[in-house]
Structures are given as C-alpha cells and as structure tokens.
Amino acid sequence: MSTYVYGITAASHPSLPEGMGGVGDPPRPVRILREGELAAVVSDAPEGLRPKRRELLAHQNVLSEIGAAGCVLPMRFGSVAPDDDAVTGVLAERAEHYGERLRALDGRVEYNVKANHVEEAVLHHVMAGNPEIRALAEANRQAGGGSYDDKIRLGEMVAAAVKDREAEDGAVLERALAPAADAVSVGPESTGWLANVSYLVKRETAEDFLAAVEQVRKDMPHLEVRLNGPLPPYSFVEPGPAEPAGAATGGADTEVG
C-alpha cells in the first residue's frame, strides 16, 4: 500500500489532524508517522489519484489544519511514497535538514499576492500617457471606428503599452510589500496576472503586512489585488532563492475538452 504524504512537521507539534479526511473518495483518514523529532502527516494513497479540484483542496485543507497550530513543510501536491517505511526512512536520513527548515519557518506563514489591471482604468492610463495612441484612437473614432487595419494597429499599440504598464506596476507592487515581509518568492509569470508574488510573514506582524496590502490597494486603484493567506509556506520550503516553479507540471500536450 503506497503512502500519500501531505507534509513534514515536528513530532512535538501540539495538534496534528489525525483521523481527518484526506485525499481520495471516500477520503482516506490522515495518519501520523513519527521518526525521532519529526513527524510526517500521511494517508493511504488512493488508486488512480488525479489532480482534481477536490483532491487539491483535500491536500490544502489538511495542510491548513496542521499549519494553524504549528509549522509545517508542505509537500507539493501528489507526493506518494512506496510505503510508510520509505517515509520514515527519509525523515531519519534528512532529519537535520528538515529540522533546520522547520526552525527557520517557525511562526511564519505565506501570503500570496496576485494582481491584475482593471481594464478600463489601465486603458485610461495608457491613453492619457500616450499622445500617439490618443491621436490614433481619435482618428478612428472620427472615421466611425476606423478600418480593420486601423483597429489592429491601434490595438497593437495599446496592447504593448498595457504590457509595459504591467511590468511597471508589478515591480512597484512587489517593492511596496517587500519591507513588510521576511522573504519574497516570485512565482511563475503568466498572462493570468501581472504580479504573482509570495511573501513569508511572521504571524505576529501579519497585521502590518495586511495593512501594507491595503495601502497598495489605495495607492494603485487601477489594480485588482488578490491576497491569499495565511498559507503553509509552500514557496519557502527550500532555502535560498526560490526557483521558477512553472516547469514541474507542464509538458503534456493532451487536449482536455
């Protein structure tokens, strides 16, 4: 029977969610494997586990429970060991490393910030700051919308200006929040957002961080800022600068739908 691993924590963790429902249908009960000063939070791995929404949520919910009462090193979704012994073997072998990471992250949580432009507001900024675009838009308007080529030309210019503005605003946002955090991890770029940044924040200063986010929302009203947290420190489990995290799940070309 293979073993699904949610995360690694200290054996002294005050409240591990033993018996809670984990991944699978029906949900497999969460078990605790202890080895020395460490504990792994696991369950049986269901056959044919797939990255469906409910499974991802089950993984996240178990980690949230652990994280609510103490530090946890969250596993990436879908980590399966051959059996329980393989898990305790890894805990024993890398005890020093995981112990160090748990101490380093103790009392800290991750906040993930993603931001998009509010379309109409950013178009306003782009038009206001770019006479060439303004002139072209005006010419198009007077020509009753302009020809197809005119529209494409205008749209291209606007798209480029919006893109520049995204990079600019993303950098401003990142810098504005960094002082309120212990560490920063920039997530993969995507067209889904202009900023995707995780911040490691001490629980006791979380209020300051949240206040900084509110300030950014006030200062940059043309951004839609999405804040998620407190979360287990997904982006800070390994020391040093976080690597771009996009590579792991890409690659397959299968069409769905």
Partner: protein
C-alpha cells in the same frame, strides 16, 4: 489558519481565490526525490489556459473598441476593483469585464474548476455543450 479578514482562501472562497491557492498547491511545496509524484494528466487544461497568448487579433480588436468607447473626460474610475464596478461593466457587454486587461485566462481556469465541481465525474470536461466551453476551446486554438 482561517481567521484573517478580507482573505479569499479556505475552501469557501471565490473561484479566482481558489484557483490562486491551487496554483501554489500544484507548483510549489517540498519535493522529495525518493517519492513519486502522481500523474498530472488532466490538469493540462489549467496549464494550457495559463499560457494563453495575449497578443492575438481578438485582443487588439477588443482594445481598439474599448479605446473608442473610452471617455477620457470622465477620468479614470474613481474606485475600480470595488464590487459595484462589476455590475456596471457587465451591462456594457460580455467582453467588457472588470477583470484585468489580460486576465481572461484566469477566468477560463475558474470556469474549468467550476465545470469540474458541477460535473463531479472524471469526464466532466468532455463533450459538454455549453457556451463557456467554446470560449476556452477557441483560446486554445489561437495559441497553437
């Protein structure tokens, strides 16, 4: 870990907040070489949509239209991002969403999750005739 006001996480949040968290669950966190990782086949829809090409003719035309409609005299929205704007903007047509200019992909993903939730079975994303889906399919074609 669920007691901060104004947060969107925790399982009951909005679909975009949920997607934002799942991105972390899938892409970050500890990896141990000795363990295998379950196949992520089935999650491609998420990855594909995240990489939707922005600079498409559709986008250009949409921006051009939006600029033609834009009233510069009115100044930027006083309070963009607040809930009221959603109501206002949806009135002006399906394409004019209040989301970020280039954020259509995130919405598509939310839709995918929504479909998964509603469908419940493994094949929920297949052969389901709905208006939303054609949007997502077209996006995929665009970037090929």
């Amino acid at each position: 870990m669920t007691v901060v006001p104004a947060q969107q996480t925790g399982g009951g949040g909005g679909s975009s907040g949920l997607y934002d968290v799942l991105e972390l669950v899938l892409d970050r966190g500890l990896v141990i070489d000795a363990f295998v990782r379950v196949s992520l086949v089935g999650i491609e829809i998420l990855k594909i949509d995240v990489r939707v090409v922005v600079a498409s003719v559709d986008t250009y035309l949409r921006f051009a239209e939006a600029c033609n409609r834009l009233d510069l005299e009115a100044g930027p929205r006083k309070s963009p991002g607040l809930p009221e704007i959603v109501g206002e903007v949806t009135e002006s047509g399906a394409r004019g969403k209040s989301k970020g200019a280039l954020s259509g992909a995130a919405e598509t993903i939310s839709d995918a999750f929504k479909q998964a939730r509603e469908g419940g079975s493994e094949s929920e994303t297949e052969s389901r005739p709905r208006a939303r889906k054609s949007t997502s399919a077209r996006r995929k074609e665009e970037q090929e």
